[in-house]
Point group: C2
Chain length 213, copies 2
DNA sequence: ACTTGTCCTGTCATGCCGTCAGCTTACCGT
DNA sequence: ACGGTAAGCTGACGGCATGACAGGACAAGT
C-alpha cells in the first residue's frame, strides 16, 4: 500500500537501513516517555541508538517528523479498539459488562501509548492538522461505533439527544481520565473506583438508564 | 504575600524593571498562542519585546520558568470560577440555567487562556508537579463546589454514586471539550449544539435526572 | 558632581541544528 | 573473484540558541 520506505534524499531503504531507522524510532519512543517533549533532542536520540545525528536526518526531516511516524503507527494499532464496541450488546447485565470492557480496553490502550498520545494531543490542540487527524482516527475507532450504539439503544426513547454528542463526550471523558488519572486520585477517587465509575457513565450514556443490579 | 519581585541574581526589581519583565511575559503569552510550544525560543520573545536575550535571563531561569509565572497568574484568576457553582440552586428550571451558565463560564475561561492551559495540561500529563498543582488549582475551583452540589442534590437518592468522581468527570469533560472543540465539530456536533449538550450532561450529573421542559 | 543601586546589553564559550562531501559496506551481474 | 553501483554512515562545518558575565547607561538621592 504505502510504497517503499525512502530516505529524505530519495534513496530506497534496504534491510540494514530499515533496522537503524526502526532503532531510532524505538529510542525516540523511549525518550518521549522519560523526558519532556520540549527537551527531546536529535542528538540524544542518536546517541541512545548508537549512531550519529546525521544518520537521524537521513530518515526524518526533524524530531516532529519522526514523532508523526510513531503516531501513525499507533493510529493503525488503534483500529483494534473498534472490537470493544462493534457487535456488542448493551442490554441489561451484558450491557454493563460491555461497558466495563470498553473502559478497560480504552484505558489500557492509552496507558500503553501514553507518551506518544500526549504529544499527539498537544499537537492537535495547537491546531496542527496532521496531529489532529491522527487523534481523530484513534478516537473515531471508538466514537463511530459508539455513536451507532447510542442511536439504536437510547435514541428511540429520547429524540432530543444527539448520539454523536453523547458518544463524543464519553470518549473525550475516557481520554481525559486516561491522560490525567492522577487528578482523580487527588480528588479522592481511588484508582480501583475510577474504572467502575467511568463504566457506569458509559452505560448510562448509551442505555439512557441505570444498570440493573 | 509574595515578597517583592526579584531578578535571578537577587536584585529587587524597580519600576522600570517590572515593566520590562511584564512586557516579556506578555510577549511570551503571545508567542505561545501563535507558535508550537516546542518552537518558542528565548531569542524570539526577547526580540518581540524589543530587548535582548540576556535581559530575559535576568528575570527568568528559562522559558519554562516564565511559563510557570504566567500559569500561576492564570490560576489566581481561576478563583472566579467558583462563583459559577457556589450558592447556586440546582432545582428544576433554575438548575438548568445554573448548568448552562457554568458551561458558558468555564468554556469562556478556557478559551481566554487556551494557550497557557495547553502547556499546563502537557506539563501535568508529563508528570511535572508544578504544572500538575496549577492545573488542579484551576479545576478544583469548579470541582470542589460541584462535588458539594452533587452530594447534596443526588447523593440522597443514590448512595452508590461517588460525588467526587461525578464532579471530576464532568469537569474533565468540560476541559476536554474546551481544548478540543474541533473534534466535536468533526463528529457532526455543531458549535451551537455543543454547549446545550454539555449543559445537559452537567445537569443530569448533578441532579440525577433529566431537566424539566 | 558624586555615589549608589537598578537596568540593560555586548560578548563569549558552549552545545545543538541541519547539511554535505566522502568514506565504507553490501549486493549484484559477469 | 572482481568490479560496479547504490545503500549506509559519519566527520566536519556554518549557523543559531543558550546562558553567564562584566561593564556601561541611567535615574535618584546627597
Amino acid at each position: 500500500m504505502t510504497g517503499q520506505v525512502r530516505t529524505v534524499d530519495g534513496r530506497v531503504a534496504g534491510r540494514r537501513g530499515q533496522e537503524t531507522r526502526q532503532k531510532l524510532l524505538d529510542c525516540l519512543r523511549e525518550m518521549l516517555s522519560t523526558s519532556p517533549y520540549r527537551d527531546v533532542k536529535v542528538i540524544d536520540v542518536a546517541r541512545m541508538a548508537g549512531t550519529s545525528p546525521a544518520t537521524f536526518y537521513q530518515y526524518f526531516p526533524d524530531v516532529e517528523g519522526a514523532v508523526l511516524e510513531i503516531a501513525e503507527e499507533m493510529a493503525e494499532d488503534s483500529g483494534g479498539l473498534k472490537e470493544l464496541v462493534e457487535g456488542k450488546s448493551w442490554a441489561g447485565k451484558t450491557g454493563a459488562a460491555t461497558s466495563e470492557e470498553l473502559v478497560d480496553g480504552f484505558l489500557a490502550f492509552w496507558r500503553k501509548n501514553d507518551a506518544i498520545l500526549r504529544v499527539v494531543t498537544l499537537g492537535a490542540a495547537e491546531g496542527d492538522k496532521r496531529f489532529f487527524k491522527i487523534r481523530m482516527k484513534v478516537l473515531n475507532s471508538v466514537v463511530a461505533p459508539l455513536t451507532e450504539a447510542v442511536r439504536t439503544n437510547q435514541g428511540k426513547t429520547d429524540k432530543t439527544i444527539d448520539p454523536a454528542a453523547v458518544a463524543g463526550s464519553l470518549v473525550s471523558l475516557l481520554a481525559s481520565a486516561a491522560e490525567h488519572q492522577k487528578a482523580f486520585t487527588s480528588w479522592g477517587v481511588k484508582v480501583k473506583d475510577l474504572k467502575p465509575n467511568l463504566a457506569l457513565q458509559v452505560y448510562m450514556g448509551v442505555a439512557g438508564k441505570k444498570p440493573p443490579k
